[in-house]
């Protein structure tokens, strides 16, 4: 037995010695991701991590600048027809795929056709139809027309012409969304079904090349692309991704220098708040509670809904529970992602709807009393569905407590479910209250306001208002398309209808608390489309 113990000791010693420091070689940027990549197929991917990685090695027609605006990328320049419906993109001559083939207009046509092909059932196909308004996209998705009829055409190798149904003011900023990325047809067909499952089955035309990756990997790496047309501007030698799902391990890894940037959990903010490397970044997501207005008679009562939304102490939730820099939100469109024609934040004024939504326990009690009287009841039991993740469960526990203490006679039960099932329950109307979130897909309030039109699948409360539907219609396909100021004003009118009817109870705009090492600068954060961009990072 002594021999055995000695052996174990020796083994442990041998293992513990000679562990190379975990710090990176060269000037690789070491970043943490919270969730694994779901797909490297630009037309199939739907999650933030996948988008970030795909955009790391692929350029679209445009790319995102630090402020989220569209700047030229594969498209060197473009012309827009006077009526705003025809875009002609001129592609750069020196853009090449990592197999040496040039990037051509046909690659974009192929990629876009994949996105609308009903056989692929791309979740983000509506980026081309409803949002992008590309001619025939909606009909092709519905299976009424052939993919070849899509309103996109390769005039020659380096000229791409796009035709839209109506002018779309933010069309250029859609071009950096991965669904609109090019795919080389010859390469795609040569790798068959394995496209996007390994470094050998993806092509790069961007700042980096994927050089190690496995499906759903916990660690993978991208290296600088020497053939990138703008290679001189890329200062780091590569990006090393590490999946960490435990926030305490993440912070410890950061402290040992193994990671250059990590997400910090609210609990840990106390530990790092005095650190100069600590910062909070807007994440764009709006968290809100959706009442089932159609399915639950008590929630059809406006006073009850008003009572519920006034009874929430949003400031307490963000300051004492989340602590990650999230901002209390009293509007249906969250803060800091949509900038209007005058350059201001669409939701910059959070007191705009103070008559419909605020943290006010007294008003809540009044509405509550009125609501109960109208319904002729003195107590009410409601059920709220919540995702089985950490943050939503915490927020829900606080909401329950706030509601039950402010509104006498109210009991709220929490039902915790995996997200997939929660979404399905809510879409089927099998819920009473639901805690949910929505992330912006593009920098326009419509990404939120489009949800509450009659019969939209994400209009969980089955709320319906003709006036609202008319405004939204006018703003997407009607005359207001060409009138940015008028459209902006109309969107506020629509938002007011949602707030006045308490269709949702907005809670907060999510932010992420992060640490970024002192020697790293130039990480760009965005609330929509691509959450992080690393190509301009400098690591000293």
């Amino acid at each position: 037995m002594k021999k055995f113990i000695a052996l174990v000791m020796a083994l442990a010693m041998a293992l513990s010695m000679g562990i190379p420091a975990m710090a990176a070689e060269g000037t690789d940027l070491n970043v943490m991701i919270e969730t694994p990549v779901e797909s490297l197929d630009p037309q199939i991917a739907t999650d933030g991590t996948s988008f970030e990685v795909i955009a790391g090695y692929t350029d679209g027609l445009t790319q995102m600048d630090a402020e989220g605006g569209a700047i030229p990328a594969i498209a060197e320049s473009w012309d827009i027809s006077d009526d705003g419906t025809v875009y002609t993109f001129h592609l750069r001559e020196d853009a090449v795929w990592s197999n040496g083939e040039p990037v051509t207009a046909a690659d974009f046509v192929f990629g876009w056709q994949r996105a609308v092909d009903p056989a692929n059932a791309s979740e983000y196909s509506y980026m081309l139809s409803d949002i992008g308004q590309v001619v025939n996209a909606a009909e092709i998705i519905a299976g009424e027309k052939d993919v070849s009829e899509l309103g996109v055409k390769a005039v020659d190798d380096k000229t791409l012409e796009v035709t839209l149904n109506v002018p779309v003011s933010y069309f250029l900023s859609l071009m950096y969304f991965p669904t609109y990325y090019p795919v080389n047809q010859a390469f795609f067909e040569s790798v068959g079904d394995t496209f996007g499952t390994s470094p050998e089955t993806v092509l790069s035309n961007g700042a980096f090349i994927l050089d190690s990756y496995e499906p759903a990997a916990t660690a993978f790496h991208m290296t600088k692309n020497p053939d990138y047309y703008n290679a001189d501007s890329v200062q780091i030698s590569g990006v090393s991704y590490q999946l960490i799902q435990d926030s305490q391990q993440a912070l410890m890894s950061y402290q040992t220098g193994a990671l250059d940037t990590v997400l910090v959990n609210g609990e840990q903010v106390e530990q790092v708040k005095d650190d100069p490397s600590f910062l909070t970044v807007g994440a764009g997501y709006l968290w809100y509670v959706s009442p089932n207005i159609k399915g639950v008679p008590e929630l059809a009562n406006l006073n009850v809904r008003m009572a519920l939304t006034y009874a929430i102490d949003r400031a307490a939730i963000t300051e004492s529970v989340l602590m990650d820099g999230s901002i209390p939100t009293y509007t249906a469109v969250p803060l800091q992602f949509a900038t209007g024609p005058d350059g201001s934040d669409f939701s910059g004024d959070q007191t705009l709807f103070a008559d419909y939504c605020a943290d006010d326990a007294e008003k809540a009690a009044e509405y509550w009393a009125a609501g109960l009287e109208e319904l002729g009841i003195d107590s009410l039991e409601l059920d709220m569905v919540v995702d089985a993740d950490d943050a939503p469960q915490k927020v829900a526990a606080v909401l329950k407590e706030q509601w039950e203490t402010t509104l006498p006679g109210l009991t709220v039960n929490l039902t915790v479910e995996p997200k997939k099932q929660r979404v399905e329950d809510m879409q089927n109307g099998a819920f009473e209250l639901g805690l949910t979130r929505w992330g912006p897909d593009y920098a326009d309030p419509m990404t939120y306001l489009g949800m509450w039109v009659t019969d939209n699948a994400n209009n969980y409360g089955f709320w319906s208002n003709e006036e609202y539907d008319a405004i939204i219609d006018e703003c997407t396909t009607g005359d207001l398309c060409t009138d940015p100021e008028g459209r902006w004003a109309a969107l506020y009118d629509a938002e007011e209808l949602v707030m006045a009817d308490a269709v949702i109870f907005p809670l907060y705009t999510q932010a992420n608390a992060e640490m970024i090492a002192a020697n790293v600068t130039g990480i760009e954060h965005h609330p929509c489309a691509l959450n992080r961009v690393f190509k301009n990072v400098v690591k000293g």
Partner: protein, 353 residues
């Protein structure tokens, strides 16, 4: 007392009389034998159990913890769900102990810019506030939550364990005793049951049924009995060819009489040990379900969910994970001591020890 016979009368055979069968010097002490036989098996077990000091300590600890689980949550004004967000993450503070410099509400925070010792009761002006075990990240009293969590865990564990002991033990014993085709069929069924990962079955159940304590007990029951049945069967295989079983069978004892009356008492040791391990397994499985978000519905808590809550503050406020872990460890330790004591008291072979 018998008469002396003359040789002339020797031909007459002797006829015994009643007096011949009475003991000389009859006294109470010799009646010991009869006394021993009338003492019941269980009384015997109890006497031997209480003779073992460690078992008694274990028993006492379990009683104390159970009592605290019953009265603990009512010992201060806090409730298990009441949140005071302004009083969150306070370190333990006890009035009687703070003069000695312990449990005075101060804690050392390790930050990335150095460690510092803070007393949030003083800093936040909460001079008259006392959280005996501290408060969690919602400002809920950990003392109250620990004991109400203990209550929930004990109920879940006891119910689940009792049920799977009964089901699992009977299943294993019957399967092992009959052997052959019966055993084959029963084992194949068990293999199918157990071949499907527990997690798949449990998650599915929790998604289909209303979440709550009964569902969790049901889910645990469905999956945990297999381990018990396997132990019982293995023990049965070991014992069934032994002489005492053969003897019993030769004497015409029924099959079930042999299984439950003859063999069961002989394998009670390993069974009880398994039961004592079923309890933490039940508590842990519930904790795991809490970890994946399918445990006892918030804001109710169990020891397992308290440990996974405390886990999230492990590096920031380590005091939060200590109470549930200590209670859990003490429970396990006492169950072990009791199990040991019971095993020795129950084991017929150890009678003379």
């Amino acid at each position: 007392m018998a008469k002396t016979k003359t040789p002339a009368m020797a031909a007459v055979p002797y006829v015994p009389v009643a007096e011949d069968f009475v003991l000389k010097n009859a006294s109470g002490e010799l009646a010991l034998d009869a006394n021993f036989a009338s003492q019941s098996f269980w009384k015997d077990v109890l006497i031997r159990f209480f003779r073992k000091k460690s078992a008694v300590i274990g028993m006492l600890l379990i009683i104390i913890i159970t009592l605290l689980a019953i009265v603990g949550p009512g010992m201060n004004a806090y409730t298990y769900s009441g949140q005071t967000l302004s009083e969150k993450n306070l370190a333990p503070r006890v009035a009687a102990l703070e003069k000695f410099g312990i449990f005075d509400g101060s804690e050392t925070m390790r930050t990335t810019t150095g460690s510092k010792t803070v007393n949030n009761y003083v800093d936040k002006g909460l001079e008259d506030v006392y959280y005996w075990f501290g408060s969690d990240n919602f400002g809920r009293d950990i003392w109250t939550r620990t004991w109400s969590g203990t209550r929930v865990s004990l109920i879940i564990a006891a119910a689940a364990t009792l049920i799977d002991m009964i089901i699992g033990m009977s299943y294993g014993l019957i399967s092992g005793y009959f052997g052959g085709k019966v055993d084959m069929l029963m084992q194949r069924f068990l293999e199918i049951m157990n071949g499907i990962p527990r997690l798949v079955i449990v998650t599915l159940l929790l998604l289909v049924l209303e979440p709550g304590m009964l569902t969790i007990i049901f889910a645990l029951m469905l999956t945990e009995w297999v381990g018990m049945s396997r132990i019982a069967r293995a023990e049965m295989l070991k014992l069934k060819e032994q002489e005492f079983v053969l003897a019993s069978r030769t004497l015409g004892a029924g099959k079930f009489f042999i299984i439950f009356k003859e063999i069961l008492p002989n394998i009670i040791g390993p069974i009880i040990t398994q039961v004592m391990f079923s309890i933490p397994t039940a508590i842990f499985t519930e904790a795991f379900l809490s970890f994946v978000g399918l445990g006892i519905p918030v804001p109710r808590c169990s020891l397992g969910s308290l440990i996974s809550d405390g886990y999230n503050s492990f590096t920031t406020h380590p005091f939060q994970i200590v109470p549930p872990v200590v209670v859990m460890a003490l429970l396990m330790f006492s169950f072990n001591l009791v199990a040991d004591g019971l095993r020795e008291a129950l084991d017929p072979k150890m009678k003379e020890v």
